[in-house]
Structures are given as structure tokens and as C-alpha cells.
Symmetry: C2
Subunit: 338 residues, 2 copies
């Protein structure tokens, strides 16, 4: 049996003394020109073409290449500080199969540097179709000759539970079999998340809010995925922008690990993430994407574009200190993280 995902995740947090997640959301307009020019050059070299003869496919290829090269710079510079990364599929998939290729290469490279990989894909579908997503992203797929092999082989993904349990069960089954995990959207970090997620249910459902109902579901679905360290490989997502809601989710899904996006560019700070942790100092991981990867553009970490990796490193270090400091202030820092 492969080792339980939640156990692996907690071990990694202990190893790095850090519950931070490096978010990898590349945007072509924010990637340094040096990276872009190198990517274009490598496509020119591979296709034996001069720059002016590059066709549309070459440009897609070069964009994907720039994404991967940029991510390597981030991962190389942060791998001694943080142990978890989260590439956001949307930014890759928008470039079709070229972009998805860069996503795959990024995940593979991250693994080689010791990172646990969480694919932020928010996938959801009905039974058999959800099974295809689960097999491809976390498990194994059947190939043309009848053999089976892992495909994207991520450690975990985010999922959306709007379709109910038959759409979630494949992710539970595959997680159990392959030592993988998932994070179910409960309360997302965006401004309009409350439009549906905060709606109150009727008295039969305890007058709960929709996101609280989702947290209860996650807790139930996660029962069979609890590892030796007491946490489940079925986690939930709660935005750092909603610390008050985190209190409610935390109480309804005690064994769930909460993936907390919204730190940094969306306004969340270390102290805002505290309600997501249990009193044992575990149970939450905190993601920072833009303010980490593109830290070279920020006032606090400003650097020349070709030093974007070093700026990211400084941002990752500052984030670690901020969160551990907030945990200390709250009196919940675990022994292993001291």
C-alpha cells in the first residue's frame, strides 16, 4: 500500500518546518524578457528556423517553454524553504496541449526537487466522467495496448463538489488506492464566493450555510482516508480572505487539511490563516501565487527581472516567517516546526 497522502503532507511540513505552498500561476506578461527570449531561442534552434519565420504553433510552443523555464527558476530557488507547490491549471490549459505539456513538465520537475504537487484544477463531473479525471490526474489510465500507466501523477488536486457524492467517490477511491488526496471547495477566496456559498439552508438542514454543508460532506467523505497522523487525505479549500468562516469549517471538518488560498495578493496575512489550523498546529497549508512568483515586481522584494528567482526566495522566506510567527503568537506552533 502506498503511504497515505495526508501523512506524506504532514511529514513534508515537518521536514521543511513550513506549511506554505508555492503557487505556480504563470502569466506571459509578467515573465521576465530574459526567460522569454531564451524560450524563443530554444524553439528557433529546435526547429532550425530564424525568429521571423516562427509560425503560430512555434509561438504556442515557445510560450509553454517560457512557462516551464520560469517555473524551474521558482522551484530551484524555493525548494529549500517550502515543500509543497500548486500549479493552477487554467494558466497552462489556456494554451491547449502545449500549455498542458508545460504543466506536466512542471509537476514532474517539482517532484524531482522534493515538492508535493497539488494540481489546482477544480474538476468536477458525474460518476464515470469524474473517474476519468481521477484516473488521469491521480491514478492510472488504460493505454492502447491494454496496459495501464500513471498519467499526470499529481499528489493531489482541488475538486468542486456541486455534483454530490457520485462525482466525488472516484477521487476517494483513487486516493485510497494510490496514496493521493484532494481538496474540496468549501469557501473560496474571491469577493463573490458568498453569493452561493453563504446562502442559508432551511431548518431541516440546521440553518447551515452552503459552504458549511460542503465542509460536513468533506468530513464524511474523508473518513476512509484518515492516515496514521490523524488527518484525512480529503481536505477542503477555505480562502484566507474569510478567517471567520474558517472557524466554522474547522469545527465541522476536524480531520480535514484546509488548503488556504488568498494569502498575499488577495490580501490575506499570516494571522488571517490561523483559524484554519487546529490547536495542534496542523490541519492547514497556505498558498501564495502571485506575490511569490512575481515578487520581483513588488515593493518589498523588488529585483531586476533576471533575479526573479531570488526575489521569489525572499518572498517565500518572509511568508514562512509571517505564518510561523502568527502560529507562535496564537500558541499553536508544533514542536517539529520550532
Amino acid at each position: 500500500m502506498p503511504r497515505n497522502f495526508a501523512d506524506r503532507l504532514l511529514d513534508k511540513i515537518d521536514e521543511m518546518k513550513n506549511p506554505s505552498v508555492v503557487g505556480l500561476d504563470p502569466r506571459i506578461q509578467d515573465i521576465p524578457q530574459s526567460v522569454i527570449q531564451n524560450a524563443i531561442k530554444s524553439v528557433c534552434d529546435a526547429s532550425h528556423k530564424e525568429l521571423k519565420y516562427l509560425d503560430l504553433e512555434d509561438k504556442f510552443r515557445a510560450t509553454a517553454r517560457a512557462f516551464f523555464d520560469f517555473n524551474v527558476g521558482i522551484l530551484d530557488n524555493t525548494c529549500e524553504i517550502a515543500g509543497i507547490c500548486k500549479p493552477q491549471m487554467a494558466f497552462y490549459e489556456q494554451y491547449g496541449h502545449y500549455g498542458v505539456g508545460a504543466f506536466e513538465e512542471t509537476a514532474k520537475y517539482a517532484k524531482s526537487k522534493g515538492f508535493i504537487t497539488i494540481g489546482d484544477v477544480k474538476r468536477n463531473d458525474i460518476k464515470d466522467t469524474a473517474q476519468a479525471y481521477a484516473d488521469g490526474l491521480l491514478g492510472v489510465v488504460e493505454l492502447v495496448d491494454g496496459s495501464s500507466h500513471s498519467s499526470l501523477d499529481l499528489d493531489a488536486i482541488t475538486i468542486n463538489g456541486y455534483l454530490g457524492s457520485d462525482g466525488v467517490k472516484p477521487f476517494i477511491d483513487v486516493s485510497k488506492k494510490h496514496g493521493k488526496g484532494f481538496f474540496l471547495l468549501a469557501k473560496t477566496s474571491n469577493t463573490s464566493s458568498g453569493e452561493l456559498q453563504d446562502l442559508l439552508l432551511d431548518k431541516i438542514h440546521g440553518g447551515r450555510k452552503v459552504y458549511e454543508q460542503m465542509a460536513l460532506k468533506a468530513n464524511l467523505w474523508g473518513e476512509e482516508l484518515v492516515g496514521d497522523r490523524g488527518y484525512s487525505s480529503a481536505g477542503v479549500v477555505v480562502g484566507a480572505t474569510y478567517p471567520t468562516d474558517a472557524v466554522s469549517v474547522r469545527s465541522k471538518a476536524e480531520r480535514a487539511i484546509i488548503l488556504v488560498p488568498g494569502y498575499g495578493s488577495q490580501g490575506g496575512m499570516g494571522k488571517d490563516t490561523i483559524p484554519n489550523f487546529n490547536r495542534d498546529g496542523y490541519g492547514a497549508i497556505v498558498n501564495n501565487s502571485r506575490n511569490l512568483t512575481f515578487a520581483y515586481k513588488l515593493k518589498n522584494f523588488r529585483a531586476p527581472p533576471n533575479k526573479y528567482g531570488e526575489a521569489a526566495k525572499k518572498s517565500a522566506e518572509a511568508m514562512k516567517l509571517d505564518i510561523l510567527g502568527a502560529m507562535k503568537d496564537a500558541g499553536i506552533i508544533p514542536e517539529a516546526l520550532k
Copy 2:
């Protein structure tokens, strides 16, 4: 200004006298051996390798090739009967960038045969990230040299509205600018869809169910996408397996086109789809995936595997007759479809 998606869709329904959708959900274990062997051969030829020397990447490539070749057989045989197709991304994406490549080629080929393409992707994310999905799937993306170009260039996609309006707005904006559309999940076709979607909201929210609230949202979001023919490019999804719920959605989102999955293998019949149509005989499109693409395996359309295309054609013809017959019985068949 590009032509409104809803207008294009209704024109296509009139042209084909058919509101059916050809669902393209390839599964390697259901694809005829003749297609598989041809795909393997073409990969061997391209790589100058004998079968026994094919490596893992070659096998992924051959699987993707088999999917595309199979779809060509379906599209060639159904393009004179139906005018809309819906590839389900999960079945392709599970094979990573190879599979996504086959998805792209399928959509491109479908367009060349006159089909309107709906990507069943159920994407969802927060503001900027949803924008990346919208740009990539429906709009244009920025490339490495600063130029912009369409990427997957689908006509429409399915989306999940759990994250609220800032996660939907990018799809509205891109649809308006590029003459595209989307279908918001309201009540899905699966057995457990009611677990969240049927929950009753409190009295402040009119004691509505969650899926009814979603339908109201879709109606609101769709206002700025209403075309000359009175329908909006913001549609909704309601499973054929829940005809009673369709009545409620229909009344709450009058101008929305309802994408109705669940016909065929999930048990839905022509008569079950009727509540999704308006009295003018428009406002719904009905999808059939497995019972159409893999009709050669069914009792009613059984055929030798290499005649899978002809079996699909017969299934598509039977489906058209079933739905038009049910519309006639209900007295709602439009003049153009007679």
C-alpha cells in the same frame, strides 16, 4: 461584431431540423480494434519503430490518435443528421497533453464538418483565473511575442457557478466579444446531484432549491447575451433524468437554452426532455454520448465493430425521430423543424 452564439445555435437547429447533440466521450476499451490497430500503425510509421519497440510516450500518442480517428468516424457519419457536438474533456485530459491534443483536433475537425462545438469542461475558478479559462477555451490568448490568437476556439463550454459572479463574468465578457456561449450547471443528470443541488434555502431566498437559485442567476447573467432570436448565450444544464425539475428551471430562466445530458445510457427518453423546451419548441438541446458513439454494441443498433460509424448514424437518426416525435406529441414542434 461576431454573430451571437444563441442565434447561431438556433439557426443550426433549424438547418438540421434537430436539437440533438453528438456527445464525444471516447473510452479506449470501447473503441473498435480496427481503429486501435490503425492508430498504433500510424505511430509506428511516424516514429520508424516496430510495434515491440514502442515506448510509453508512443502508447499515449497512439491512444490519442485512436480517439481522434474514432471521432472522425462518428462525425463523418452523423454530420448530415445533427449539427452540434459535445466532446467531454475528462476522457481526453486523462491522457495529458496527448489527450488534450486529440480534443483540439476533434473540435477543429467537427467545425470543418459544420458542427457547433460545446466543450464539456465544467470549468470554474476565481476572477483572473476564470479569465484564463475563458480566454483559452473561447477567446484569445497572449503569446510569447505579444501577439494574441485564439487557442481552443470552442463555440461554447459548460461551467460550474459555485464560485459566484466574479467567476462567471469572464465567460460573459468573452462570449459577448467573440460570439461564444456557456452552459451553467443547474441540475445535473447524476443520481447524487440532489445532495447539494436540491437543498432548500431559507425563506429570505424564497425557500428555493439551490439549483433553482442557480437558474435565476443564469437568467440574470444571461441578460446581456440575448440574441436576435430571443435566446441568451448563457444557457443552463438540466439532466434529462430530472424532467420535473426542468419545469422549474424553464420558468426561472426563460431565455436560457437548456443543455440536456442524460439521454440514452442514463435512461432519459425523448418525452423526458420536453419540459426543457419552451412552448415555441426552442430553448433546449439534448445530448447523447455513449448510446450514440458506441451504438454498435447496443441491441438496437448492433453492428460489427468496424461499422461503428453506421451504427452511430442509425442511433442519431432514431434519437432525432424520438425527440421530434415527442415535440409533435406535445404540440410544440416549430415550423422550421417540421
